[in-house]
């Protein structure tokens, strides 16, 4: 775990420094310069932060779903602790991703929200997280809460293929990479980022993923202690 902590700090710091500090020039000469992408220019730096956050929020949901599934199979309460901790982190990253995405949308397309498929998807993920926690708070007993929220997360996961695959193809969108977007689509859609940008991007993704693992570990340990303290014997 120590290694993960240090690695994540290093990765994210590098990503922040590189992402913000490295200048963007039309004809990059050295490794420490990014090319300008027509249509995006400096705003492309958002890629280094917004995308990993969105990715982490999806990761949080998938983990919550996986742990929920394991709970249903084993009835081991520890899985429920992990599930709810993942979901909590996922919600936090989802909010961050929505906010960073929304700010970027304002600068890029002029308004904070446009209902383009990717924006809609992250909003739906936020709704799912909200529904998950609302359900949990409405259930009285530990066992029922763990069981039913696991079922709900799996149900929500079942609808995911529809969001991921069908909507962006069917409804044209503003996001880089969606149907109908010619300029500015290259970096994300085909990962045709120049190698130096790609490196920073991957470092950022790794950094955020490790951060997720670290934070999850803290939350799970705290929750376990709280659970042990509150157990009552006959």
């Amino acid at each position: 775990m120590k290694a993960i902590k240090y690695a994540s700090i290093v990765c994210i710091t590098c990503a922040i420094l590189a992402g913000i500090a490295i200048p963007m020039v039309p004809q990059p000469q050295s490794w420490l310069e990014f090319p300008i992408i027509p249509g995006l220019e400096d705003k492309a730096r958002n890629i280094f932060f917004h995308v990993p956050m969105a990715w982490s929020s999806v990761l949080g949901f998938l983990r919550a779903l996986y742990y929920g599934f394991r709970y249903l199979r084993t009835k081991d309460f520890d899985y429920d602790i992990k599930s709810v901790s993942s979901a909590g982190l996922g919600t936090m990253f989802c909010i961050l991703a929505t906010v960073t995405g929304s700010l970027w949308a304002k600068f890029n397309w002029g308004s904070f929200w446009n209902w383009d498929p990717r924006e809609t998807s992250i909003f739906i993920l936020l709704l799912i997280y909200g529904a998950y926690f609302t359900l949990r708070s409405a259930l009285g007993s530990d066992e029922v809460r763990a069981r039913l929220s696991a079922v709900y997360s799996i149900l929500a996961g079942l609808t995911a293929p529809f969001f991921i695959f069908i909507m962006p193809r069917v409804i044209g969108g503003l996001h880089p990479g969606a149907k109908g977007d010619t300029a500015g689509s290259t970096p994300v859609a085909q990962l045709h980022m120049p190698p130096n940008m790609r490196v920073v991007f991957i470092i950022s993704i790794i950094g955020f993923s490790l951060l997720f693992v670290w934070l999850l570990d803290i939350r799970v340990r705290a929750a376990r202690i709280e659970y042990q303290l509150s157990k009552k014997e006959i």
Binding site: L72, I124, L127, I128, G130, A131, T134, L135, A138, L139, G140, E143, V144, R147, L148, A150, V151, Y152, I154, L155, A156, L158, T159, P161, F162, F163, I166, M167, V170
Partner: protein, 223 residues
């Protein structure tokens, strides 16, 4: 075919119970009438596009469904008969019986809303009847397939009424988006082939949700 008879026995129990108490039907139909009336007052003689009309059509159906589809499980829990049902039927018999009931209820609901819309909104002209009928059919099945298991979930919760739409909405979004598009096509007079991709999505939605729900139902139903 004992299982089929048992499933049908569950359905018929719910139908008979509903006909005697009119609990869900009353709520549904009153909701439909009041929401259509509200929309009517809001629009008056304004020209509305087919997009908006089909959107509002499904909004009415969504909220009406939310007021009526949870009855099959909530009434069992609230009156303490869930245990009785658990003693006589296996979880899948209960699930499929309730699912069939809800499919029927949603079909009644969407037919009622269709008739009301045809009467009340002159702009609501169904140019492509086949597309419309397929949409209503698949959309109703889709609603029932998700709403039934969510109803089973909230029946065990403390704040059932408000929780139901909160949980159902995210799950129903793919259905709603597709069905609204398909209804717009029906109002615009598109051919069946144009709507085929929508129907494919709807059919796969129904299949996935029913398959998933039937597998997960055991965990919801049995404590």
């Amino acid at each position: 075919m004992n299982v089929m008879v048992s499933i049908w026995a569950v359905v018929s129990k719910d139908i008979r119970s509903e006909l005697r108490t009119r609990y869900a039907l009353n709520a549904l139909l009153m909701f439909v009438v009041t929401s259509v009336a509200t929309i009517l007052f809001a629009l008056r003689e304004d020209e509305v596009s087919t997009d908006v009309l089909s959107g509002m059509f499904w909004v009415v159906i969504f909220f009406s469904a939310m007021s009526g589809l949870s009855r099959i499980f909530v009434s069992e829990e609230e009156r303490g008969t869930a245990m009785t049902l658990q003693l006589v039927a296996s979880p899948s018999e209960v699930y499929f019986g309730k699912l069939i009931f809800n499919c029927g209820l949603t079909l009644v609901l969407s037919s009622a809303v269709t008739v009301l819309y045809l009467v009340v909104f002159p702009a609501f002209i169904i140019k492509s009847a086949v597309v419309f009928l397929m949409t209503i059919l698949l959309g109703s099945l889709g609603f029932a397939s998700s709403a039934t298991i969510i109803a089973a979930i909230i029946a065990k919760a403390n704040t059932k009424g408000t929780l139901y739409p909160v949980l159902s909405f995210p799950i129903l979004i793919p259905l709603l988006m597709t069905v609204m598009k398909s209804t717009t096509r029906a109002l615009d007079g598109d051919s069946v082939t144009a709507a085929l991709s929508d129907f494919q999505i709807l059919v796969s939605y129904v299949m996935i949700m029913i398959a998933g729900s039937s597998l997960l139902f055991d965990y919801v139903w049995k404590d």
